[in-house]
Each structure stands twice: as C-alpha cells, then as structure tokens.
Symmetry: C2
Subunit: 432 residues, 2 copies
C-alpha cells in the first residue's frame, strides 16, 4: 500500500526491525556540522533563538530531513515538523524532537542531540525504505533555552496551549525586538494550525545535563519524569546602621533571620534526600557597604523534589520556618513565588517502550528523573511522553565545554529508534 | 604682657574662666549658615572635599576666624590652622577642630559641629578679650570623609606623618582629578611645614553618630578611645552546578561553609559583648543565577572591639573558625585583610580635663568609645587627645536626616571651652 505518493512503503518484519541500528557516523557528522553554525572560540555554540545562526541551523535541518523523505510543516510559532510518513495515514504520528537554539555560550549537544537523533531514526528508516505504521514527526521546537526570549520552551508551550500565540509574539529580546518580528525576519513564521493536533506518543533524547549517569557509569537514563520546583524571592528587612557605633543589641540585622532560614532550607533538602534539592544562587545585601548593617537582604531560594506530595510538604514547611524564624528574630519579611513548576510524571507506556528498547539492546540503564526542564514537560501535559538520557562529561551543560562520548550518543539514538518501533508496534489509543 | 601684637592679652581670673559659657545662638547660627553651602533638597549637605562648595565653606570659616582675631595658616595638604593667640608664645598650642567636608548626601553636623564649636570657643574668648596661656589652633582637616578622595582622614594623616604628602596629592577622584590639582584649583594648597609641630593637647567635639547617648538620655560622651576594627574579604570557592540535575551530595556549595562561618562570627561578637561588633555588609554570589550553585561567594566581614587584646583574640579565633569549617566542609577559601585599624586609646590627662569640665558644668555624662573613625585617631598617635560626643537623633549620621538638639550642641561646646581652659591651666609637658 502506498499512502504517501512519494516513498515506496515497506512494512518490515519484526526481525528486521529488531536488528535495525542507526548510522552512528552520520549522526556524529551531523552533530559536528550543526556545531559549525555559530561556533565559538572555546569550542561551543552561540546559536540563539531566531538569530541568523538559528535560521542557518533550521535550513540545514530541513535539507537533511527532505533528503530522508520528510515533508516539512512550519507552524505559526516557528516549530518545524518534518514528517516521515507511516503506512497507516489514520494513525496519529509519533513525535520526537528537541531544539536547535543554544545558550549564548552553549554547547554542541543540548537540544541538538535530540533533534539529530530523531532525524537519524527517520534517516535510517529511509535508508532501508522502511515505514512504520505511524508517521514520525521530527520536531524542532522554537526557543527552548529562553536566553534570548524569556521564558524558555515557548514553541512547545504554544503548541500545547500553555501559552497564547500573540503573547508569545509580543515577547521582546534585550534589544527590544519582538519574537514575532524575528520569526518573520528569518522566514520561519509558518501558518496553519497552532495546536499540536493528535499524537500517539512523544520521545525526546537528551544529554543528562547532570552527573548521575557518568558517575554511576551507566549509559542510558530512562526518564520517568521531571523534578518539580518552586522559586522563591525572600526579602528580609533590617535597619541600616553604622557598623562601628551601633551596639549589637540595638541592631535590626536581617542576617539574624537569614542564617537560620537558609540552614533549615538546606536541612529540608537533606531530610527528603536523595531527591530533594536546595539552591541559593543569588543574594543581594542593600546598600552593600561593608560597614553598614544591611537594610535589606534579597535571597533567591530554589527548592525541588521529584515527588509532588513531598514538594508540597517542603513548600509548606519552608514557609512555616520563614514565618517562625522571622517572628522570633523580629525581622519583617516578604516571601514571593517567582515560579512554581509541578512535578512532571511521564507516561508509563512510553517509559515501558523505552525500557523494553534499552533492555533488548543490552545497554546498562537506570530509571531517573530529569533535574532540568525540557519541551517534554509541556508535551507530557497532552500526550504520552518520555525521555532518553545519555551521560555528559562531568555533568556540564549550558557551557561551551559541554561534551558527550560518541558511543553514548549512538546508544541513545538506537534506544530512540527501538522505542519508536516498540511504540508503533503496540496498539495505543491516540491522544489529543 | 602683650605677646601677640594684635590683641590685648588678658589673663582672666579662674573665677571668670569657670563661669564662661559659649554663645549658643552664634554657634547655632553658624551651623545654619554653613549648612546653606551645598545644601540639598532633603535638608542635608553635599559639600564634598575640594569642591567649589568646600572652598566656600572654608572661605566662610576663615572670615569668621579672622573676625575672632585668629591668624590663618594653610598647610600643604590644605589643613587650615586658625590660631587664637595665647599669652605664652613658648607654650605649644591646644588644637581643636574637625572637618567641613561632607558625604555626598551628608548632614549639617558631622565634622562641621567640631569645627564651629572650636571656633565658638575662641570667638567667646575673643568677645571678652581673654587669652589663655596657650594659643588655640582651630583646625579644619582636609578630606575627612573619604567619599570623594579615598581613604578618609587624609589631612590629619599627612600632618601626623601617617601618609606621605605626594602620595596624598596623587589620589584621584572618580573623574580622574587628583587631590593635588583640586587643592590648587580651589586655592587651598598652602606652603610651609607639612608636619603638625608641637602641640599641647587636642580636643575634638563631634556628634556621636550612634544611638547610645540618646537612648540613655545622657547629654555628653567623654570619649576614651576609638573602637578597633578589622575588615576581611572572605572568598569561598564552590563549583557551579545546575540546581536541578545535580544531587546535593555531588555539590561543592560554598554556602555549606558560609552559614556556619557567619554564625560563629556573630557568636564571637556576642561572646565579647557589649563592645564586640560583627557586621556582614556586603555579599556577592557568582554567577548569581537562581538555578546555579554559586561558584564563588565573596563576603565582607567587619569585626570590632574596644580592647586591642580582645580584638586580637577575635581575629585569631575568627581565622581558626574559617580554617576549621572550610576543612570540614571541603571548601577552599581566601581570607584577606582589607583594613586593620587598631584600637585607639585617648590620653588620660585629656580625658580627665574633659571629665572635670563636664562635671563642673553639671551635665549628665558617660565614658564611651567612638564606634566611628575620626581625625582624632591620627592625632592621638602623636599628641594627647580626647573627644567630646553629643547625642544625635536616632543615632543617624552620613545621612541628610542627621539631626541634633540645640541644647546638646551648646552643652558640648561649653564642655569643649572648659576642657581647653582646664588643659591650659594644667602644666602639661608639650608633645611633638
């Protein structure tokens, strides 16, 4: 049955499919070629969203995808859907992708690997003139990083209805250019439907961006979900006073509350180990003079956990600690939530499809949570989703020094291929 | 005996001298007139060192001093010595002064009060055509504040040999102008000797710049010395890591050392209460991103005590605590001393002269240490010195809202007058 009009559609036997492996050399060559676009002196990449470099990266992706027999659709927020046809036109596609934009001093792998691993999956199927029952949409999501246009994950947010299209268009970069203008300028403001539409399942391959797989010497992370987080701004009010003439007992020093609050925040993460996290990344003392008691301390507090029930408990207890300590120390305070991202639990069927793939391939693996956010967080709200992690060197990411081993990148792409095969072979209901 | 050739020199009887009081209205009127020069919208003063406003203030002072029968000498660093003659030309002068320069958003009293109280002392003597045995040098010290040209107390430092004249000349302000250029520009680069020369004693009246006198409802502080301080820069090195994917046990988080170090620094101040002080005025987390474990914390630590033996002990223990905690927490650190100002002990004879004056005048008083630095710190290294404090509103200084009660300002000037009388009546050896 030829349903596409373009490719001869072959239904391979299970045995052929089980033994299919991606072309590692091609995958690595494409990662290297993509890294040439916006490459930095220190071996990283600066290919920020909707810049000329982003356009070049997108153009190159489309060239490769067309060569693999994909049809290209650009949606209104600039997400690229490269569809490799399936032999059952009534089956909703399997989606697999990530992003091509980078941090200003980013690396070669974050996002790029997920896009090119998915492209390699369809390229390999195309090499062998094999089509699965389901089409595979290789997707490039717009502006995942959020470094040029904030927040991140704008493409996946708009496609899944979490952000309004016009709101997204109006977001400006540091120089006042809007996202809408820049999409148009680089020629990637598409048309047609904004919403993602029916999807069977979504898989995203990614470097771990953390140290766990490497330190445990495990090649594949089967990702069960994404850690939830709450970002707080804690403001502690003191009274400015000269460090010399003001006796200690006459001071209102916000540090008297800050020190026990921070200690207890760290203790919460420890109490709910190993999945609790506490990070104090930013602090400001005002006026910031070394011989003046601060009139104000502003402290960022980032608390995370992989279990929503526990994260709620951490939130409740942290707030109570702030209240109690500030009352005891007679310090007035403000505590505001800057961002609250609930725990994302990935789909059990998708997790099984990945686990089955990695088991059959014989790689070492572990189940784990993602500590960083991804486009898959938004996809998971609408469609069955999971992710596949591979180790990265020293856990370093968002950094020009970002690195990953060839064998791991190839293994991850093979897991992605086999996950898609497993998913397509199973008889899941489609999801909207 | 007329030793001056300008004034009729009258030796008053002890009874006349005991009953002398300064002219409070004139003192207050002069403080108000000086406050017009560089006055700010919020009721304060911006009369920074060696600006046109500083020149106007100096000119006005000299006009008043000449009217009181003083001879003016400007030294090479711009200190103004207005000499009211004594009847014994062989007796080294009593020095009394302070500074006319202010902070950018300073008040009407810091420094100004000490200059104009001393001027009032000689003005009152002049009104009555009375001369003490000793000449009185009313001194305006150059650039006490240190806000335009850093450090502070440059005039008194140079005059007492603590700073080299050429080094002082070369100091630049924020726009690159040198102190030497600016002294010349405003016409206050004098000539003659740099060194202070023989002095019998030095007294400086000042607002307290702290809350102690006001809160205890005491009118006069007899100042026994100036608190010693050590300013440290503590740098704690961590390893930058993403707040999400990095497990707590894989982190090198400088906060793990910072929290106990700061707690123990505050505990040191408490252990050596009431004269111990600990202030954490400035802190920087690098890179300062809320979802990144800081790679570096830079913290200013200001430790003070009025007893040098205890300050040495605080220094020793603080260093040991930093070493021990960083070793336990496996955090590398750097600890540098930015400034080490030893405790200044004022002269017992001067303290007695002031105590005797305030007792005779019947004001409430207490002995106390100065928590802030003053020109008297440098004078005290060479000549018998003490200070007289009066309360200021809410202990506020270095602020446009700086305020003091008329009755306290008048009382302090009377104490200064009687202290000079007591000092001159006593038969102290002169000091070089």
């Amino acid at each position: 049955v030829n349903t596409t009009g373009e490719n001869e559609v072959t239904q391979a036997t299970p045995d052929v499919l089980d033994n299919m492996r991606i072309d590692g050399d091609r995958l690595l060559a494409r990662i290297a070629a993509m890294a040439e676009i916006g490459k930095t002196d220190n071996g990283g990449c600066n290919r920020q969203a909707l810049t000329d470099e982003d356009r070049q990266g997108r153009d190159l992706f489309i060239e490769w995808a067309r060569a693999a027999g994909c049809k290209i659709r650009i949606d209104p927020i600039g997400n690229i859907f490269a569809r490799y046809p399936g032999h059952d036109a009534s089956a909703a596609p399997i989606v697999s992708g990530s992003h091509l934009d980078t941090q200003p001093t980013g690396g070669k792998f974050d996002g790029v690997y997920g896009v090119l691993a998915a492209l390699e999956v369809v390229s390999r199927l195309s090499d062998q003139r094999i089509h699965l029952r389901h089409a595979i949409d290789v997707v490039v999501w717009t502006n995942e990083e959020g470094s040029r246009f904030s927040p991140g994950c704008i493409g996946s947010s708009v496609a899944t209805g979490a952000m309004d299209l016009d709101e997204a268009y109006a977001i400006t970069d540091g120089s006042g250019l809007t996202l809408g203008q820049e999409l148009e300028r680089i020629g990637y403001k598409g048309d047609g439907q904004v919403a993602l539409g029916p999807v069977t399942a979504a898989f995203e391959a990614h470097i771990e961006q953390g140290p766990i797989l490497e330190s445990k010497q495990i090649q594949i992370g089967v990702v069960e979900g994404v850690i939830g987080l709450i970002w707080y701004d804690l403001i502690l009010h003191g009274v400015e006073a000269h460090a010399g003439p003001t006796p200690m007992e006459d001071r209102t020093d916000p540090w008297q509350a800050a020190l026990p609050i921070l200690e207890k925040a760290y203790a919460l993460a420890a109490e709910y180990a190993p999945h609790g996290r506490c990070t104090i990344g930013a602090i400001n003392a005002s006026p910031g003079s070394r011989n003046t008691v601060p009139g104000r301390l502003t402290i960022s507090v980032d608390l995370r956990h992989t279990d929503q029930v526990i994260l709620n408990e951490i939130d409740r207890r942290f707030r109570q600690q702030v209240t109690d300590i500030c009352a005891t120390k007679k310090i007035t305070y403000g505590l505001s939530v800057v961002w609250d991202m609930p725990v994302t639990a990935f789909d059990q069927k998708c997790i099984s499809a990945v686990t089955q793939a990695v088991s059959a391939l014989g790689y070492d693996y572990m189940r784990m949570f993602s500590g960083a956010g991804h486009d898959s967080v938004y996809l998971a709200r609408q469609v069955p989703t999971s992710m596949i992690f591979v180790p990265c060197e020293n856990g370093v990411s968002h950094n020009e020094a970002e690195n990953a081993r060839a064998e791991d990148l190839i293994a991850g792409a093979n897991v992605l291929l086999q996950s898609c095969i497993n998913c397509s072979a199973a008889n899941w209901a489609e999801h909207r």
